[in-house]
C-alpha cells in the first residue's frame, strides 16, 4: 500500500510546498487505492482524467510559488454536490444520467484553491438516512470490522462514502453535508473527524437540497487541523445563497493554539438518555476529564427541550424535503418513466416519482406532504417550528451563562451491521440522530472527534458543540480532545 494516500492534508501541504512530493504523485497514489477498494463501494464515479489535469495544474502553481493550502490535495466529493459535466445524482435513480451544467459554490472554491477531484462519493439517497443503505449505488461499507468478525458494517450516513473513503485512505479528505448528523455520525463510525459548520458558513448553492433550513456542507478529514484547513477553503459568502453569511472567513488553523484554560465546557444532563450504552457513557466522562486536565472548567448544564429535537426534526425536514423534491417531475432532468398509451402528465409525474425515488425518500416526501396539508399545518408543522425556537433558546441561555462549548457523545453506539436496522421500524433508525440533530435545529457548529475504541475494536467519537460562528474556538477545543485522546487507530486492510 502506498504511504502517500495516508498523509494528512497538513502533512501533504507541507511536503508539496517543500517540493518533497508532487500533486501528480499524491493523485496517482489515491487513484491506485480507489481502484483497489471496490469492495468498500465508497467512490461511485471516479474522475481520473479530471484529477490528473487538476494535479498537473496544481503542480504548476506550486512551482510558481502560488499555492493556497488546498493546492494539489486530492479529495473526494459527496455525490450531493453538483460538479460540472460529472454525474451528480444524490445516489438517486431519479437523477440517473444527470450531469450538471454548473459547479456548486463549495466545490468551485475548492478547485480555485487548487484541490484535485478524485471522484464522487456514495451516500444515502438525497442525504436521507443514517446508514448509507438507501443508495442507488448499493451500500457503502465501513473499512472497520469488529475484532475477529467479518460482518460488513455501515460507515454511517448520509455521508457514508465520504467517511469510508477518508478512513480507508482513498483520499486525503472529503466533503460531506449535514442536515441532522450526516457528517458527524459517519465520522464517529469510521474514526475520522467531521465538522458541521454554523448554518450559513458555507454556501448551499449547487448542493442538491434536502431540508434547506438545516443543510450545511463541511469537511471530513483525518485530523482536526485538516478540518480547519479545508473549512477555510469551503467557507465564505456567496451572493447566490441568500442564507450564506456575509462574514469574513477567519484563519481557522491559526485558532489551533491548544490552549483552552479557563474555558467552560457544558455537559448537558438531558443527553444522558435512558439506557445509554455504558461504553459511550465512559467515553463521554473520559472526554470531560481530558478537557478538565487541559484547564477547562466542566459545568453541568440543562437543555430542557432536547427530547423534542428528534420529533421536531422529523416534521421540519420532511416538510422541507417534500417541497424541495417536487422538482423531480421527469420534465427537466433525470429519469422519466415509460408511459402507457393515453397516460397524461399526472401519470407521468406519479410513475416517474414512484420509479425514481427509493422507499425512504418516498416515505419522507409523503410525511412532509401530510404535515403540510390543510388541517394539519398548525398541529404539526407550525408546532414543530415553535419547538425549534425553544430548542435554540436552550442553547442561547447556556451560552449567555458563559458556556464556551458543549461536550456530548456523537452517536448512541459504534457502527452497526448492514441490515441490522432494516427490520426495525423507521423510528428506530431515526434514533441514531438523537445527539446530533439538536444543533442543526439551532444552526450551531459541531465537530465529531474520534476518542476511543469500544470492546469490539470499533472507533467511537465525541462531539463538541460550539457557539455560532465560533468554529475556530470549536476546532481548538477539538484539537485538545484529539491530542489528549491520542486516537491513532486505523482499520486493518481487508478490501
Amino acid at each position: 500500500m502506498s504511504e502517500l494516500s495516508k498523509l494528512t492534508l497538513a502533512d501533504a501541504r507541507d511536503r508539496l510546498r517543500a517540493k518533497d512530493v508532487t500533486s501528480a504523485e499524491l493523485t496517482e497514489a489515491c487513484l491506485t487505492e480507489i481502484s483497489g477498494a471496490g469492495a468498500l463501494n465508497a467512490v461511485v464515479h471516479t474522475t481520473a482524467e479530471i484529477a490528473r489535469a487538476q494535479a498537473a495544474a496544481a503542480d504548476a502553481r506550486l512551482a510558481a510559488g502560488d499555492a493556497p493550502a488546498m493546492c494539489g490535495i486530492p479529495i473526494g466529493i459527496k455525490d450531493l454536490f453538483c460538479t460540472k459535466g460529472v454525474a451528480s445524482q444524490a445516489a438517486s435513480a431519479i437523477l440517473d444520467g444527470f450531469k450538471p451544467e454548473y459547479e456548486s459554490t463549495v466545490t468551485s472554491q475548492l478547485w480555485s484553491a487548487g484541490a484535485v477531484m478524485l471522484g464522487k462519493l456514495n451516500m444515502d439517497e438525497f442525504a436521507m438516512g443514517s446508514s448509507n443503505e438507501h443508495s442507488v449505488y448499493g451500500a457503502a461499507i465501513n473499512p472497520w470490522r469488529r475484532d475477529g468478525d467479518e460482518t460488513r458494517l455501515t460507515p454511517g450516513g448520509s455521508s457514508g462514502g465520504s467517511a469510508s473513503a477518508v478512513a480507508a485512505d482513498l483520499c486525503l479528505a472529503a466533503t460531506g453535508t449535514d442536515t441532522g448528523g450526516s457528517i458527524r455520525q459517519p465520522a464517529a463510525f469510521t474514526g475520522i473527524t467531521g465538522l458541521k459548520p454554523t448554518y450559513g458558513r458555507c454556501s448551499r448553492w449547487g448542493i442538491i437540497a434536502y431540508a434547506s433550513s438545516l443543510d450545511q456542507a463541511g469537511p471530513m478529514t483525518k485530523t482536526v487541523r485538516d478540518a480547519a484547513i479545508m473549512l477555510g477553503a469551503m467557507a465564505g459568502h456567496d451572493p447566490k445563497d441568500s442564507t450564506s453569511a456575509d462574514l469574513a472567513v477567519p484563519d481557522f488553523e491559526a485558532a489551533l493554539t491548544g490552549d483552552i484554560r479557563g474555558q467552560k465546557i457544558g455537559i448537558p444532563r438531558e443527553y444522558r438518555v435512558e439506557g445509554l450504552n455504558p461504553e459511550i457513557d465512559k467515553l463521554w466522562a473520559d472526554g470531560a476529564e481530558m478537557l478538565r486536565d487541559a484547564g477547562a472548567e466542566i459545568v453541568d448544564i440543562s437543555l430542557p427541550h432536547t427530547k423534542y429535537a428528534l420529533p421536531a426534526y422529523y416534521v421540519i425536514a420532511p416538510a422541507e424535503a417534500s417541497s424541495n423534491l417536487a422538482r423531480y417531475d421527469g420534465v427537466r432532468f433525470g429519469h422519466r418513466a415509460k408511459l402507457a398509451h393515453g397516460d397524461g402528465i399526472t401519470e407521468m409525474y406519479e410513475k416517474t416519482r414512484a420509479e425514481g425515488f427509493g422507499s425512504e425518500v418516498q416515505r419522507r416526501i409523503m410525511v412532509g406532504t401530510y404535515v403540510l396539508s390543510a388541517g394539519f399545518y398548525d398541529a404539526y408543522y407550525n408546532r414543530a417550528r415553535k419547538v425549534r425556537t425553544l430548542i435554540k433558546r436552550d442553547f442561547e441561555t447556556v451560552f449567555a451563562d458563559g458556556i464556551d462549548a458543549i461536550l456530548a457523545p456523537a452517536t448512541p453506539s459504534a457502527a452497526f451491521g448492514l441490515g441490522e436496522m432494516s427490520d426495525s421500524d423507521p423510528v428506530q433508525m431515526y434514533l441514531n440522530d438523537v445527539f446530533t440533530v439538536t444543533l442543526n435545529l439551532a444552526g450551531l457548529p459541531g465537530i465529531s472527534v474520534p476518542t476511543g475504541i469500544d470492546s469490539t475494536g470499533l472507533p467511537l467519537g465525541l462531539q463538541l458543540i460550539g457557539q455560532p460562528w465560533q468554529e475556530g474556538a470549536l476546532l481548538n477545543q477539538a484539537l485538545v480532545l484529539e491530542q489528549a485522546a491520542g486516537f491513532s487507530g486505523k482499520p486493518a486492510r481487508w478490501w
Binding site: 432532468f333 409523503m366 425556537t389
Partner: protein
C-alpha cells in the same frame, strides 16, 4: 390521530407518487408509526412562542431587480429526458 388507507392514498396523490392499492395498508402503518413519534410535540407548551423562520438572526439580502443571467437554452435543456425544438416536451396537458 390514526391514518387509514384512504388518507394514505390521498397523501400519495398529493405527493404525486404512485402507490399500488395493495401497498397502501403497509404505508398507512408506517405513517402511524412516524406520526405517533411526532405526536410527542403536543406535550410542549408553545404558548406565545414564535415559529422559527430563520435560524440566524440576519436580514435576507436584497439585490437590484435586474437580469443577471440568461441566453443559456442549450445548457438548460441539456439534461431533459425529452427536449424538442428548444422546448421541454411533455405528454398532452389539456384535452
Amino acid at each position: 390521530m390514526s391514518i387509514d388507507t384512504d388518507t394514505a392514498a390521498r397523501v400519495a396523490k398529493l405527493a404525486r407518487i404512485r402507490v399500488e392499492d395493495q401497498d397502501l395498508p403497509a404505508l398507512a402503518n408506517e405513517f402511524n408509526g412516524i406520526l405517533g413519534f411526532i405526536e410527542q410535540l403536543a406535550e410542549v407548551d408553545v404558548d406565545g412562542v414564535e415559529p422559527m423562520t430563520s435560524v440566524t438572526p440576519m436580514r435576507l439580502k436584497r439585490r437590484d431587480d435586474v437580469v443577471t443571467d440568461g441566453d443559456q437554452q442549450p445548457a438548460v435543456l441539456a439534461n431533459a429526458p425529452d427536449a424538442r425544438e428548444g422546448f421541454f416536451a411533455v405528454p398532452k396537458v389539456v384535452e
